[in-house]
């Protein structure tokens, strides 16, 4: 059974009387125990997707569709019940760790707060637990550092602190939204390793958001490729990376390939204007294979191989190429 089941998820932002169509009908499911990656270019709706799961969107957002977690519909869940899910069952670690920590509170206190919220521990006990998990994420002298404020942490440490916060709740699903962006190469590795470690320890499911295919290849067994608010392709990592069934995925992969050609590969054109309501395939403007149908009709996801879906009118063609 899938842990997380998303159907027809649509998300719109109202900005100055204009509408940004951030998610344009997303269907996907995340199996329990998997490590799933969501990849896609900046602005493709990765963050928006994860935020809409826990209804953390800003007030100008409108969500439609269905998100079921362990069979419960999250989008209509009442606040109190939702709070039980947030943190305790689904934990999130964010893109800019330092910004995601409250600058006015000691790091340890923030972790302890979360801990108390979900475990009913006392203040002192929660603090001890916070120090403990901080130490577990590899922060040295955790007892002392717990009293420090976020700005006294380096980027990597802040990310660790966020992971610690996630760890303290022992969630079933851990969503990591580009946990390594802005960190230096070596620290990136450490953080990713830590995430993997934590997921393994908690026996949790991982939803990792990134736009780095290199990371995906290493860390995840499932992959979801997003483009302009739509899911283009899903499948096992090996399948998708080796036999992409969507021109977008293929083009993206090409950009990562190490070739000895004189020129660097890229995808021409720019991402579509998200303020336009979608018609046809959103990648149509940039795709080498575009035909008339691509502009007119939205492609449905087709299963090109078991568990491998692609939203392209020519999915099979691409897969076989």
């Amino acid at each position: 059974m899938s842990l997380l089941q998303i159907e027809g998820l649509q998300l719109q932002f109202r900005v100055d009387r204009e509408t940004v169509y951030a998610l344009r009908g997303v269907d996907l499911s995340v199996g329990a125990g998997t490590r799933t990656a969501i990849v896609g270019e900046s602005g493709s709706g990765k963050t928006a997707l994860t935020l809409s799961l826990l209804r953390l969107l800003p007030p100008n957002a409108q969500v439609k569709g269905s998100v079921r977690f362990l069979g419960r519909e999250l989008l209509t869940l009442d606040e109190a019940a939702l709070r039980q899910v947030r943190g305790a069952q689904i934990a999130m670690i964010f893109q800019h760790a330092q910004a995601a920590l409250n600058p006015l509170l000691p790091v340890g206190r923030q972790i302890a707060d979360v801990c108390r919220q979900h475990s009913g521990m006392g203040r002192a006990e929660a603090w001890e637990r916070a120090v403990e998990v901080l130490a577990a994420t590899g922060i040295q002298q955790a007892a002392a550092r717990a009293r420090d404020y976020p700005h006294q942490y380096s980027g990597g440490m802040a990310q660790r602190a966020l992971i610690a916060m996630a760890l303290v709740c022992e969630p079933q699903l851990l969503i990591a939204d580009e946990p390594t962006s802005g960190l230096d190469v070596a620290v990136q590795q450490q953080v990713l390793a830590l995430v993997e470690q934590v997921v393994a320890r908690l026996d949790a499911t991982l939803l990792l958001i990134t736009h780095d295919l290199a990371v995906v290849a290493d860390t995840c067994d499932q992959i979801i490729v997003m483009y302009a608010g739509e899911v283009m392709e899903t499948g096992a990592t090996a399948q998708v990376l080796e036999r992409p069934a969507n021109p977008y995925t293929a083009a993206l992969l090409a950009c990562f390939e190490q070739t000895d050609e004189a020129r660097m590969p890229f995808i021409p054109g720019r991402t579509p204007d998200m303020r336009q309501a979608p018609t046809g395939c959103s990648f149509a403007g940039r795709c080498a294979m575009t035909r008339d149908i691509c502009h007119q009709q939205r492609p449905q996801a087709v299963e090109v191989a078991p568990g491998h879906f692609s939203a392209c009118h020519f999915a099979q063609e691409v897969a076989d190429a």
Partner: protein, 288 residues
């Protein structure tokens, strides 16, 4: 090359963009009304109104009537005409004092924020001193010492605006100092001063504009207050603040019109200015 490129129309001016800016009625209404007020002020001498400074001692404190829709004030002057003519005075006072405040304050703030160091501390200290002055008292003292001319009034108001704008611009400039585009401007060969004036200053426009309506309201309030203790704008110049004060004493005896109408005019103008400056902010500010 990108597909589907076509020649695009000329860039619309800011005003055009504001007029057509995405909220159809409300926005246009605000700008329209504000323009109308300004226009009314500009055209006041041409309108079929009573002479705003023509006293009629035999016709004082007359309630609103067809002849005098807003009634007459303590000098027997037509309140409607004065309210409309006051647009000129008030906008002129507000604009010149605010402009002066901005012209002096903004560069000070920008220089202070941009160059930092000793210059910054000196300018910051000076603005703090300026701000620390008890405003009404000091205004009174200056007017008493130098006479209550329009120029002095503008200077006093500007005196309060300078630190406001310099502080604001400084706080906006401070983070800009390290901003990439400022560095880029240096690389593009701008001298330090031209970096400040051509690149940094324009970027402080939005907060400056959001402060504008407040400053304008404040100007009218100050003038009203100074009139109240006896030293405002020279009588009988039509000006909302002093009109409010002139009528205020009769307000409690049921002769509300001399005070309420100019008060309303002030209120409406500030309201519209507020809306327009909000709008301006949202249009000029870079959209993420």
């Amino acid at each position: 090359m990108l597909a589907g490129e076509q020649a695009i129309p000329e860039r619309p001016s800011l005003l055009q963009r504001m007029m057509r800016a995405n909220g159809p009625m409300r926005v246009r209404l605000n700008i329209g009304l504000l323009l109308l007020i300004v226009l009314l002020g500009l055209l006041a001498p041409l309108l079929p109104l009573h002479d705003p400074v023509r006293p009629n001692p035999l016709n004082r404190f007359k309630a609103p009537s067809l002849e005098h829709p807003f009634g007459t004030d303590g000098n027997g002057m037509d309140v409607l005409s004065r309210t409309i003519h006051a647009i000129r005075t008030d906008f002129a006072l507000a604009i010149s004092s605010v402009a002066l405040g901005i012209v002096v304050g903004a560069p000070l703030g920008a220089l202070s924020g941009y160059f930092g160091g000793r210059l910054d501390s000196v300018i910051t200290r000076i603005t703090e001193v300026f701000q620390g002055f008890p405003q009404i008292l000091f205004g009174m003292a200056v007017l008493a010492a130098a006479g209550n001319t329009m120029v002095n009034l503008v200077l006093i108001l500007a005196f309060y605006n300078v630190p406001v704008y310099s502080k604001m611009v400084r706080s906006v400039t401070l983070p800009l100092r390290e901003a990439d585009f400022v560095q880029a401007a240096r690389v593009a060969g701008n001298s330090p001063l031209s970096v400040v004036f051509r690149h940094v200053l324009p970027n402080t426009l939005v907060p400056v504009f959001s402060q504008l309506p407040l400053s304008c309201a404040y100007a009218a309030q100050m003038i009203a207050g100074l009139s109240f203790i006896g030293l405002g704008v020279a009588i009988p110049t039509p000006e909302w603040g002093s009109m409010i004060q002139l009528g205020a004493n009769q307000l409690v005896f049921g002769k509300w019109w001399a005070s309420i109408f100019p008060g309303l005019a002030l209120f409406i103008s500030v309201w519209l200015l507020n809306n327009v400056s909000d709008l301006f902010g949202s249009l000029v500010v870079r959209r993420a």
